[in-house]
């Protein structure tokens, strides 16, 4: 083995290491979702027609169509890579959607195409789960208390409004997405999309009442890009 060979081997190792660190999973897009203008005030929900649920909420809960926080932040916004990232096979974990106290937990559930969706009823009352899909098939199933979870999956990407017809205040969103690069903004409006290989991406933010906004972001290497989305709030 010559000195040249050693150098070559060292160089190859160096390249391999740098590819690993700068390769898949290096870049991050993070940021904050805010609004400008006056959003509609959350309304108090009257659950008196469903006493078993009403008693679970000593103070009445409010509608979650628009959930705001301090500093004009917006929660429950789905942020995802809509272009630039390849479609990915679904993870083996299930996305869990729970009905508790006549409320959807979480209000917005994001998961991947083909991923197992598990819907449970923790209430003492019957619910019907009615995801109003347009691109996927629309179905509507009854789930009385104590029955096993409903297991399903979706074949195509779509933002699907979900509702319970029996309890008209119950509605939520299934965000069915093509890849694993997504985030639902937390109470302070923050989101984070880690593990992005270098590339040019289109980032989409979706709010169930305000619609969607997009931005193009270029990730060069192991960097964190900070972007923000500002939705125009509607007072109604």
């Amino acid at each position: 083995m010559t000195v040249k060979h050693v150098f070559l081997a060292a160089f190859a190792t160096f390249v391999a290491v740098s590819v690993t660190t700068a390769g898949p999973g290096s870049g991050t897009i993070s940021g904050k979702i805010t609004y400008e203008g006056t959003p509609a005030k959350p309304k108090s929900i009257d659950m008196s027609k469903e006493p078993s649920c009403a008693k679970q909420h000593p103070t009445p809960i409010t509608t979650e169509t628009v959930v705001t926080g301090p500093g004009n932040s917006l929660a429950n916004v789905v942020v995802y890579i809509s272009a630039g990232a390849p479609d990915e096979p679904p993870p083996s974990t299930s996305a869990n959607f729970d009905q508790k106290g006549c409320q959807y937990l979480p209000h917005v559930l994001a998961f991947q195409v083909g991923q197992e969706l598990k819907i449970s009823n923790d209430d003492q009352t019957s619910h019907n789960i009615h995801p109003l899909a347009k691109i996927n098939r629309e179905w509507n199933k009854s789930q009385p208390p104590g029955t096993p979870p409903i297991i399903d999956k979706y074949d195509k990407a779509e933002m699907i409004p979900v509702k319970c017809n029996i309890h008209p205040w119950m509605h939520g969103t299934f965000a069915v997405l093509k890849n694993s690069h997504y985030s639902v903004s937390s109470d302070d409006g923050s989101f984070k999309l880690p593990n992005l290989p270098p590339g040019k991406y289109t980032v989409t933010a979706y709010q169930e009442s305000y619609g969607e906004m997009t931005q193009d972001v270029v990730i060069a290497g192991g960097e964190t890009k900070t972007i923000s989305f500002v939705f125009k709030a509607k007072p109604y």
Partner: protein, 287 residues
Amino acid sequence: MRKMNISKLFMFVAILLAAPLLVSAQQGESHIGNLSGNAGAGKQLYYRYCWGCHGFRGDGNGENAQYLNILPRNFVAATFKCRSTPTGTLPTDQDLYNSLVRGFNNSNMPSWITLTDQNRADLVAFIKTFSPRWKTDKAGDVIPVPAEAPLTVQSIKHGQELFQKLECWKCHGPEGRGDGPSASTLTDSNDQPIRPYNFAAGSRFKCGSTNHDLYKIFMTGLDGTPMPSFADVIKPEDAWDLVHYLRTLQVTHKSPELALWLTTKEGQEIVSAQKIYGTPTGSGIKQ
């Protein structure tokens, strides 16, 4: 040798030309029992009888649609109420054919018994050309309906328990009059207000009038409406009990179920407490 080659070539060309025809023929067909419907023939019929309500493009937006309070079916969305298949799946050709024969109670869709069987089969084939779903999806597997359980007082009482337990009354009302606590809030999948079925109003349901039809309605659910599927929730042996009880809610309809229910003290009390207006049919009903 040369002649054979030419004839082979000719056959090859003929097959090439015929292939797309075969494919399109498969897509534009319906099969109902021994009948085969053809979309080409159905098209002629559609643009004579159907498009005034269902629209030029089959989107339910025909010129008469604006006058109808139950909107014509949108064939492009391919969501159908009356099926024998699970919720979220396409109906069978037979299901669509049956809807044409029957028409829809309480809506403007008449029964098309004036057409021939072949006409209706052709129409089913054409209706299926409006949505690409018919090319990508197959009709769902038909939900089996077992032989009807014997009608007994016990069966009716068990059905009554199920009606309570499954909370049918939340929409249909404690007496099945379509006036439950959630009834006034209901909308269909197009955000149009929709009313739950009032059992006291008559004998016919949206998707038929037999016990078999009633069984199918709550097992399959009526897609596009608030009525969910109970196929995963109700055991087949329990389902007939619910059918028997639901029949007793049709207090203006003379049924064996109501007659039997009225032979019991409990049944008489319940039915007479409903203060029926209209034509009484049972012995215990007073106007």
